[in-house]
Amino acid sequence: MSNLIANGKVVDDEWTLVKLPPPPDEKVRKQAGKVVLFKLTGENTHTNSQIESVEIPPEGKVLLPLPLWTLKKQELSNRVSKGEIGVWLETHELVESLSCSISDINKLPVIGVHVERFADGRIFTIGNLLRSRYGFKNELRAFGDVLRDQLYFLKRCGFDSYLIRNDRSAADALASLNDFSEPYQGAVDITQPVWRRIDRQG
């Protein structure tokens, strides 16, 4: 059973997710006595040879990590035209790295953003930038630690598909897309703030 929500319903996932291997020397890092849970924006985690070693499934729709895409995009141009290549980024990666890597971002049928931890709100800004700054029009997917209580915010920041964490029910999560009906501020989905949408003078 798929755990993907798109266009407001649970649907099958056509995309094969390709991941980078965990960096071999990943140590537990500490700051002020606490384990570091978040990577800094712009931080590099893998060497080129680690990235090179990742196999890309030769057929079908594949969702590639940004560093792998950047490295192999030349050889993938055919598959890009066939609409078989999507790219995903981590919340600590820069949206600019993706936008610079392709002449027309809308050649990608899907962009994914992986959120390692629920509390990482960078995903919201990333979604917003992809939609409003870089004009991305196709499927924008959140995956990773995606739980129902982020959905409303993700939706407002331009995401339209959500791969709910696999121990939770996507069907249950659907309800949270509509936690609020009339938001105050303009954002990606509803661009106008409430005072431009509705006459509140009454």
């Binding site: 002020a32 606490k34 629920f118 960078r122 915010f153 609020f180 303009g186 661009t191 005072w195 003078q201």
Partner: protein, 555 residues
């Protein structure tokens, strides 16, 4: 004050429903502790030492009598019959049951109140001057913009999970009373050369572990652009704030690391993209919200009143109260009144349910049914007629709300500390109480004059100890409670951060330490010099010498 329309009401109602379901899922084991934490925090619910603590939002400190009556009822029904007004102008309940919190929120929603974003890593309650709209030194009443910011920040989707909490203060007066320089963003309103409302934007101030005063990021911002400019600032922060280390996650650390020039240029370039986006405030929206803050229907009154003057001249207790607790008003014949929540020997900022209902009644009778909460943790009736001051005083006094100590040493600003807060290193309330008892002599207090003493139970600095003229901070040494003392901090336009005077003290020593600091001031002051002025003139050395010298001779 602002009144909800159907849209506002629907949002808080939907929030109650959402939170009720989140609580249900948590209690049913569908949400782990870790997963529930950010959700409950964004609804003001902490898990504390003894019980959860619920922080209720009081936007920019404004309450109606109806709301305060509801708070009285809630604190009686769901808590132990009292509440704590905090330095963020909010109300905290110390003993609610987790299972009851959805019901408390739904009660609050019936009077246009909520606990949205009173905690957690998001944009918090907007704070301002408790005398907004009535202060004689006010240039612009900032409350309409504060309300617009409140609405914009409520469930702002992009900023729902920031690296750390984010506090915004607004001020529209000549003398800053909102400590704009100690906030993540401080918005200072003024009239520019063409007599238009403009905003000076401060960024990167904050107390806590690393106290830093803010820096001006933009000297002149048109009010229409305040939301988009804040979006640019917070967007840069959301992407680049230090999520790897909670102690370095506030925006002040980012601003410091990048330097204000670089930070400014990132913000400005971000802003160029969104400058004229739909969140630009329209004239008509400002007008709509401003109507709620129109001037009260004041009577035309003389600025004198015979009955008042008689009582003032013949009743020393009343005149003492007038001198400390009554403040100037822009309207002739009116005054603002502070009801002290600092009776000597009681927890600063606490009010009982009974006191809350009395204040609600008093506000209906004497002050257009409105109350404000100050960040100094007192309650204010902003529009009282001169002729009503005496009866008001008598009724306030009957319920212990007329201690004539506003601005004096015993008007202590104090966080809940180790008695309640699980983050505390040390208790703070008993220290405040002991100092109040030590100085329970009004004549001496008047002689000492205006002074601010702030106490925080830990580095988080909820008691704003860095900007207290005397600041006391609870520290942990080998598992026991100690207190570090700073002097020379100050809020206001010429804000400063206090300097630590030396090694910390035990709880028993604290009242004596404060006495010795005051002794030095009394000895050294020139004419009418205030404590803070003396400190600034002579430096901390004489205080330090006396405090520690005494100690050694005692041993």
């Amino acid at each position: 004050m602002y009144k909800y329309d159907a849209i506002d009401q629907k949002i808080v109602n939907q929030r109650v429903a959402q939170y009720r379901d989140q609580t249900r899922r948590y209690l049913a084991g569908e949400l782990s502790d870790d997963e529930f934490r950010p959700l409950r925090l964004q609804n003001g619910l902490y898990i504390q030492r003894h019980a959860p603590m619920l922080r209720i939002a009081i936007p920019y400190g404004m309450l109606s009598s109806k709301q305060l009556r509801k708070l009285a009822e809630i604190s009686k029904r769901f808590d132990k019959g009292y509440g704590h007004f905090s330095t963020r102008q909010n109300l905290q309940l110390n003993w609610p049951k987790l299972e009851d919190t959805p019901d408390i929120l739904s009660e609050l929603a019936t009077v246009e109140m909520h606990a949205i974003q009173t905690s957690g890593n998001c944009i918090r309650n907007i704070t301002t001057d408790q005398f907004a709209g009535v202060a004689p030194d006010e240039i612009i009443d900032p409350r309409a913009i504060a309300e617009i910011i409140r609405q914009w920040s409520t469930f702002h989707p992009e900023f729902a999970l920031l690296p750390r909490k984010f506090k915004i203060a607004v001020s529209g007066t000549i003398n800053d009373r909102a400590i704009v320089q100690a906030h993540d963003i401080g918005l200072e309103f003024y009239k520019d050369n063409s007599n238009k409302t403009a905003i000076r934007v401060w960024v990167g101030g904050g107390l806590g572990r690393t106290p830093i005063l803010g820096t001006v990021i933009r000297e002149h911002l048109e009010w229409q652009n305040v939301l988009t400019y804040c979006e640019a600032i917070i967007r840069v922060y959301n992407l680049h704030g230090r999520r790897d280390n909670a102690y370095k996650a506030r925006i002040k650390i980012l601003v410091k690391a990048l330097g204000i020039e670089e930070f400014r240029s990132q913000v400005e370039s971000e802003w160029q993209h969104i400058k004229d986006s739909p969140n630009t405030i329209s004239e008509s929206e400002l007008l709509r919200v401003s109507k709620y803050f129109d001037e009260m229907p004041y009577e035309n009154l003389q600025d004198s009143c015979e009955a008042f003057e008689n009582s003032f001249n013949n009743n020393p207790a009343f005149s003492a109260w007038v001198k400390r607790c009554v403040h100037p008003h822009k309207k002739s014949g009116y005054r603002a009144v502070t009801l002290s929540l600092k009776p000597h020997g009681k927890a600063p900022g606490d009010a009982t349910s009974e006191q809350m209902s009395v204040v609600a009644d008093l506000s209906d009778k004497y002050s257009f049914g409105e109350i404000r909460v100050s960040h100094e943790q007192n309650l204010i009736l902003a529009d009282v007629k001169l002729s009503d001051l005496f009866p008001l005083w008598e009724q306030a006094r009957a319920v212990g709300l007329a201690t004539p100590n506003i601005g004096l040493l015993t008007d202590i600003i104090c966080c809940p500390g180790g008695d309640f807060c699980s983050l505390a290193n040390a208790k703070s309330i008993p220290i405040a109480e002991a100092i109040q008892i030590q100085f329970d002599n009004l004549d001496y207090l008047y002689d000492i004059g205006d002074i601010e003493l702030n106490i925080s139970g830990c580095m988080n600095a909820c008691g704003h100890h860095h900007v207290g003229h005397i600041g006391i901070l609870g520290v942990d040494k080998d598992g026991s409670e100690w207190y570090q003392v700073t002097i020379g901090g100050k809020q206001g336009n010429d804000a400063s951060i206090g300097t630590v005077i030396g090694p910390s003290f035990s709880a028993e020593e604290m009242p004596g330490v404060v006495s010795r600091i005051i002794d030095v001031y009394i000895k050294e002051r020139e004419q009418d010099e205030l404590f803070i002025e003396t400190v600034r003139r002579i430096g901390i050395a004489p205080f330090k010498n006396h405090v520690y010298a005494k100690e050694t001779t005692n041993v």
